[in-house]
Symmetry: D2
Subunit: 149 residues, 4 copies
């Protein structure tokens, strides 16, 4: 099973994360909700590199998740370390598209899941989306090493 | 904001669930991972009504999540009770499509999220998908009150 | 197994909570971390009745957990509904002692766990404990129906 | 604030774990339930080193948590990496006492929490505690480098 679109070398931002025993559910594999926690952590790590959002409670501005779609391709078990690749593939007026892939170290970096998210930059005070600032766009393009539509 | 496709009266199986204070994250709203836990609980509740899966650890047979896509439409906060509608909209050879919608009681049953999942019936012993048994199909059609392709 | 100290009629504040399938871990019972989430929810519910803390992110004042000790007496499984009793048994200068007990409906209200917590009233701005205000003490004594040392 | 009993050099088994953004709650610090997940992961890591329990769902034998008591000494925030020390301080007939301490890298290894747990070796088939086997006792004493009462 090879996925040319989802190999680690196509991501500039990689994030390794150990599996916890308690991530597993009654079926003996990592529960689906845990993947979303991991993907969130990898997105936060990505945004931190941009300095895009302090992501703290006293901040009025932050990214908000509008859509997320995930393909679960392999079951995961403890012990393992997952590697997550995160990149932004599209920047719109108020939103961005993020693609992420997750590989299992214990399974020779087989693709275990991939996910596409839409996040909206949000001002919590007027509770309104805001335009993606030009300097943020430039920082993302620099991090990704290419122009983004 | 009305969504003709996602109103409670279009779901025969409804499931109410209270929001916990700890479901909220630093941004002051329910964290995205919690929605997936709720949707899982509502799916399990649905499957229990069918007697389709004992869903216990010693069972070799169970549903496995292959894909899930979620639209987040409204932020949620404690205290609230969410109502989740679950129905199966398609039955394939080894998979089923489940649609779910989530409304907020505190926001006058406004739609807060909707989700589409693909689950595969899975035999954990040979680690292979199995065909949806005919009696399961009939039970689902009876619960839904209509024929399913 | 009877615990004269931990029967539902010795608690004025009771809180029912449904077990989720995903609360269970690989061992086939509810994971220990879930008990602490439930106890937290029951404490928040108790504090809400007092109006003691808005418990929101923009509040500078809130309760902080200093110690918690839990006896796990019975394993729990889905489906079940747990009942949690919460009462304050001692009020100090800056801290309060909370006792909680948890019974399983599916096991005829057998005691499944009991917990003792110390919480400190905390002002997050100077990051200092504060004295328990006299009106809070009075509200608690009214709720508990007795004087508290 | 120095705790002579809880310094990293007094533990032979140390376990580092990164804090996730989503571990934080509305109060802007890591939620108490997360500590218990971390302590569980560190205990599982310890037991794995002993080969004491495969800790899988199909195992009839496993450790069960009977009591846990935790002192929360410092608030934690993302980003940080916590270091957890785990040792067994007492072995009884069917139970063991585990002490754990947790330090914050971001706070110069200040002690953030310490916890004492009692675990019982449990045979899930007859649902009974079992005696701690002599070879397990010897492995633990070897790992700890001292005789245990």
């Amino acid at each position: 099973m090879s996925h040319p679109k989802f190999t680690p070398d196509q991501f500039r931002v990689l994030f390794d994360w150990p599996v916890q025993w308690g991530d597993q559910d009654l079926f003996g594999h990592v529960n689906n909700t845990v993947y979303f926690r991991w993907f969130e952590s990898a997105r936060v790590d990505y945004l931190h590199r941009l300095g895009m959002a302090r992501l703290h409670g006293d901040e009025a501005l932050g990214p908000i998740l509008a859509h997320i779609g995930c393909n679960f391709r392999r079951q995961l078990q403890y012990p393992d370390t997952v590697r997550i690749g995160t990149h932004i593939t599209h920047i719109g007026r108020t939103s961005m598209t993020i693609e992420q892939a997750l590989w299992s170290t214990a399974q020779n970096l087989a693709l275990a899941a991939d996910v596409t998210s839409t996040i909206v930059l949000f001002d919590y005070n007027p509770q309104k989306p805001i335009h993606v600032p030009e300097n943020i766009r430039r920082q993302i393009e620099e991090l990704e090493g290419r122009k983004l539509a």
